[in-house]
């Protein structure tokens, strides 16, 4: 289980995350929803080691991993799919995937993992020698997902996996995320597409200006009036 306790993160004077606590139990899909600037990305980037928290603790299976650099976090079993995909454009698809397995030393296991990823994303196999920068947006997202899987993480952090994709691709990405979960991964997911995220998630937290303002199972939040009005764009607009 990944557990965040009273996390505070600032960018200079801007206090982006102000005391967030949440739990990501093994085998579950947890979603963070909220508007831009609510602190979702900051939370994920702090868990992954790209940002240092001001206060608070991050525990993985009871072990304190607060403040470890990104390179050590991934070794502990947490991989991140960054917002905007961030594939390495001048490396091939294959090289990108192998970078995902950078921390792994057992060649056979890596080969087997590669095979799994290619089976999950057949299009990556077709394009394995192509430069990642020449892939379409959807394919780059698949590559970013596949690359994160190559580390064989316990927990997968996903920052806006559907952002900027055509609706038909959003569908595809979400069904792939579901399959990744079914293969035993624990997921912590940020999504602008709140409806899709809540449909998928076992449990979700709603963030507003750096704090958690609501939480509940995906099903509960989907029928919650506030959530429906603010994040799902239903009902009357308050004047």
């Amino acid at each position: 289980m990944l557990e965040i306790i009273d996390l505070h993160v600032s960018y200079g004077a801007i206090r982006a995350v102000q005391g967030i606590s949440l739990k990501v139990p093994d085998g579950k899909i947890i979603a963070l929803i909220g508007t831009n600037g609510a602190g979702k990305s900051t939370t994920l980037r702090t868990i992954s080691g790209l940002l240092k928290p001001e206060a608070g603790r991050i525990l993985l299976d009871g072990e304190d991993i607060t403040g470890l650099p990104a390179k050590d976090i991934v070794k502990r079993g947490i991989s991140m799919v960054p917002e905007g995909r961030h594939v390495f454009p001048d490396l091939t698809v294959y090289e990108n995937l192998m970078l995902g397995a950078y921390i792994r030393t057992n060649r056979q296991e890596v080969e087997a993992q590669l095979e799994e990823v290619y089976n999950l994303f057949p299009r990556l196999r077709e394009r394995k020698s192509q430069l990642a920068g020449t892939l379409s947006g959807g394919e780059q997202q698949m590559l970013a997902l596949g690359r994160a899987l190559m580390a064989d993480p316990k927990v997968l952090l996903m920052d806006e996996p559907s952002l900027g994709l055509a609706p038909v691709l959003v569908q595809e990405i979400f069904s792939l995320i579901k399959r990744i979960h079914e293969q035993g991964k624990t997921l912590l997911l940020i999504e602008q597409n709140a409806r899709a995220a809540l449909t998928l998630a076992h449990y979700a937290y709603v963030l507003e200006t750096g704090r958690i303002v609501m939480e509940g199972t995906g099903a509960e939040l989907l029928v919650n009036d506030d959530v429906r009005r603010i994040y799902l764009g239903e009902g009357e607009i308050a004047v």
Binding site: K71, P82, H86, P89, D90, L91, M98, Y102, R147
Partner: protein, 299 residues
């Protein structure tokens, strides 16, 4: 001009061009990964040459030992420079770190003056390269070193391309060059990869410096300045950040210089200025250089 004369110039041109290429690679590698012109890079030529000079003259070490020692210590110098002068400024504005690089260059040159003295020293030559070793081939008198330099450069270039494109550490170097954060998310130790980059670039500069001293066997603490500037220009001309670009740039610059001396002896005194004409021309007409891609801002 006689044909034999032409070949003599050509041999010199190829050998000078190879030297420039070898040193230009170091500029381009560091730029590729840190977006920094490491102005201290040229001074590493001098460091390596003096280590061999003292290794031979003072400690009477065998040639291979002196050379390996010089390459290793120069490589270490490159790592120390990065650690001490660039890493603490990694998140500072680009200009700050550039000024730091210029400062390191002055520091190394002046340390050289203090430690080694300002008087030029004559560099010892192994028997196979001394002046008696020159061979006459079809009427052209060519010294052995003239052949050795391009051969060594070619070997090192192939080795480097193998490392960069076919090994795990090379893959990590290319990833770090693109995006520190995402490289970190892969589990790559970014600091270590940057250190490796400096180590490799500095080792190439060391080999360049030793061969430079064998070709022009007068060494002094400022000997790295002009070659350093020219190799930086060669790297820009070829397209900075691109290894093959640096090689082509260095090669063309060396050939052009020698050809100017050969065909336009009346302006051969401006030989050193020519490199700067190329720099200005490149920056005006094709700032990305021959093989350079659009300089993408790092995200």
């Amino acid at each position: 001009m006689q044909l034999s004369m032409f070949f003599q110039h050509l041999a010199n041109a190829v050998s000078l061009g190879s030297l420039y290429a070898l040193v230009a690679i170091g500029y381009t590698m560091v730029y590729g990964i840190l977006r920094l012109i490491n102005f201290a890079h040229g001074d590493l030529l001098m460091v390596a040459a003096y280590i061999v000079y003292y290794g031979r003259g003072m400690f009477h070490l065998p040639w291979p030992v002196s050379i390996v020692l010089a390459v290793a210590l120069t490589s270490g110098t490159g790592i120390i420079v990065e650690r001490a002068a660039y890493r603490p400024l990694r998140n500072s504005p680009r200009t700050t770190i550039l000024i730091s690089a210029i400062g390191v260059s002055f520091l190394v040159e002046n340390l050289g003056l203090v430690v080694f003295g300002g008087r030029p020293q004559s560099f010892p030559l192994p028997a196979m390269f001394d002046s008696g070793s020159a061979k006459e081939i079809a009427g052209v008198r060519v010294e052995n070193i003239t052949f050795v330099i391009p051969a060594v450069t070619l070997l090192l270039l192939l080795a480097l391309l193998h490392i960069v494109h076919r090994t795990k550490v090379g893959m990590a170097m290319r990833a770090v060059a693109r995006d520190f954060d995402t490289a970190g998310l892969m589990g790559i130790d970014v600091n270590r990869i940057i250190a490796v980059t400096f180590a490799i670039g500095s080792a190439l500069a060391a080999v360049g410096g030793i061969m430079w001293a064998m070709k022009f066997p007068q060494i002094n603490p400022l000997m790295g300045m002009m070659p350093g500037m020219k190799c930086f220009i060669a790297a820009v001309f070829g397209g900075i950040g691109n290894i093959l670009g640096a090689v082509i740039g260095g090669f063309l610059l060396g050939v052009a210089e020698i050809m100017i001396v050969a065909f336009l002896p009346s302006i051969s005194g401006y030989r050193d200025a020519f490199a700067f004409v190329i720099l200005i021309g490149t920056l005006l007409l094709r700032p990305t250089g021959l093989l350079g891609e659009k300089v993408a801002e790092k995200v």
